[in-house]
Symmetry: C2
Subunit: 342 residues, 2 copies
């Protein structure tokens, strides 16, 4: 079992300035690495007004110098916002300065507020995503100069530097939820990010779809190529548990508001539309409870083929990670050891 | 007198892979800070095939974690290549994680090979630069949501995060050479980068133009707002000196080739067109010689109003900086002390 972090610095309403928010989050990541968390996947968002990380690769480059072994991920870099060549350069630079620790999550974006802010038609997202990905892969792997003349981007006789450290290139991760998009992810050679609201039953189904599609290609399935995001809160009392559910609901509904355009096509991700939906999804999906309950939930996920959890700490305070590292992790380290000696 | 570094990691033909080049350059910068160099201004270049730094802000973010007090600069970020909002986010993130140490050099770009690679008409550069700058300043300083509908970029109802740490925003630096562009720089509130081929007489003239234009606006002139780039090589023998001239000529002619389009308008910067030009410019402008000769040259610059030198070490080896710190710097520290007690 492997544990990572998911999310990123976010303002708690009126609590701190951006400099404090980032600086606390940096300390949080550095200590998380010491506690045994093996990755951090940071979101990338724009125009939120709540200090979500925007320049994610720039920030990961800083974290590359502050961490030693941790994988550094994006979840996800929304390709339509970026010049694909500049993005390939930035990602390769993070990969290089980190000694090959970049995991690049990519997506087409789902937030209406971001498409509106960038003045980009939502319908172009898919095409822009595909074209961008093609350029990025070429930029990373081509040792000769190349040209690209697509619908949205034109490059003539270029060679893109630096090359990434990982060969042929850093792992690409995508979020997917429908059977079709999960199969496409497997067939395209992507690692898989599964979302924080999927119930254990959904997760089991999705891991199986992905595994079957990978094996159908004659490749071995590695469960570490499937990262499952889970909200985390160690709640020792019913009151604390209730508070955590409320925090989750508030956060998820804010994200929902940022994402919604009544005229936009529905997203494949599970997105709550009411407080009741959020509540149900959270109760089933989140790791909220006592350490014993959390261990039980993780074991249930493990039985479904999940071996890599990305934890989104509800409070964003290091205390939860400390308790998790002390009370929950050892249970799964043992499993790893047993597996190695088996 | 203040000393900084100018340039960035570059491949020495066939010598090392990109990972080694960056890693050696990182060590170089870290030791330079210990030796007393107070800034590093990194170039940004694309498609060179010689490993010049491309994702400059990403790389500076890494260096922010590896250095303590050093100013972190770009020289320059070519605005026409970048989405101005993403650039504002990236620059603000570097400023934030570095505790307010970013110096953002900006320019319209002069290399034909880059315009051709990005499939951008060279003639659009000036307009794109101006529009981009307008968006970046607004993105950094606006505390309310704003919209921008220009010729090249459209943004609707956005707020750009994080805000930079330095207020109202990180210093903007521009390269300028003609009287007109130097006056514009002063009037626009920019700091000034003066190029490595300008002779001492040219520099004296340019500093005076800038100083007069700043003072004409009723602002005090700060000589630390003028960074003068100089090639550096400590040469103890005539043979070594000859070798340094040759290295310089080779490098400058490569840059010239990357920059040149026979149909493009001439650039305002001093760009050599023959080996003879390079030789003359280098002999007059560069700090190549024994420590005593270099001290003499710097004192001559100081007499012309230059107080901030950005050194472009010809060999890129730390040895030259060590010798410089040991043999040259103390001469100017004394000057500083004398000035303080005067």
């Amino acid at each position: 079992m492997r544990f990572g972090l998911f999310g990123g610095a976010t303002a708690k309403a009126g609590e701190a300035n951006d400099s404090q928010i980032y600086s606390e989050f940096i300390d949080y990541v550095v200590e998380a690495e010491e506690l045994g968390f093996e990755s951090v996947f940071l979101v990338e968002h724009h125009f939120t007004g709540m200090a979500q990380v925007s320049a994610t690769l720039t920030f990961l480059s800083y974290l590359a110098a502050r961490t030693q072994k941790m994988r550094l991920g994006t979840a996800v870099t929304v390709l339509p916002w970026h010049n694909p060549v500049l993005l390939a350069e930035q990602a390769a630079t993070v990969d290089l300065v980190s000694g090959g620790r970049l995991d690049l999550g990519v997506g087409r974006g789902y937030r209406y507020s971001e498409y509106a802010g960038f003045c980009m038609p939502f319908e172009e997202g898919g095409e822009r995503y595909e074209e961008s990905l093609e350029v990025i892969r070429k930029a990373w792997t081509s040792t000769k100069r190349f040209s690209h003349h697509g619908k949205y981007w034109h490059f003539e006789d270029i060679i893109v530097e630096p090359p990434p450290t990982q060969k042929p290139h850093p792992p690409l991760w995508v979020g997917a939820a429908s059977d079709r998009s999960i199969r496409q992810a497997a067939e395209g050679g992507f690692n898989l990010l599964l979302d924080q609201l999927a119930t254990p039953a959904m997760l089991g189904h999705r891991v199986k779809i992905y595994r079957d599609a990978v094996e159908a290609q004659g490749r071995p399935f590695d469960p570490m190529n499937v990262g499952v995001t889970r909200a985390l809160h160690v709640a020792m009392t019913p009151r604390e548990r209730e508070w955590a559910y409320e925090m989750r609901a508030k956060f998820l509904l804010t994200v929902h508001q940022l994402s919604t355009n009544p005229n936009a096509p529905p997203s494949a991700m599970n997105r709550p539309t009411s407080l009741a939906d959020v509540r149900i999804a959270t109760e089933e999906a989140a790791l909220i409870g006592t350490p014993e309950e959390i261990i039980g939930r993780i074991k249930a996920l493990q039985a479904l083929g999940v071996e890599y959890l990305l934890l989104l700490d509800v409070t964003g305070s290091i205390d939860a990670l400390r308790v998790f590292a002390r009370e929950v992790m050892p249970e799964f380290k043992q499993t790893n050891k047993q597996r190695q000696t088996a």
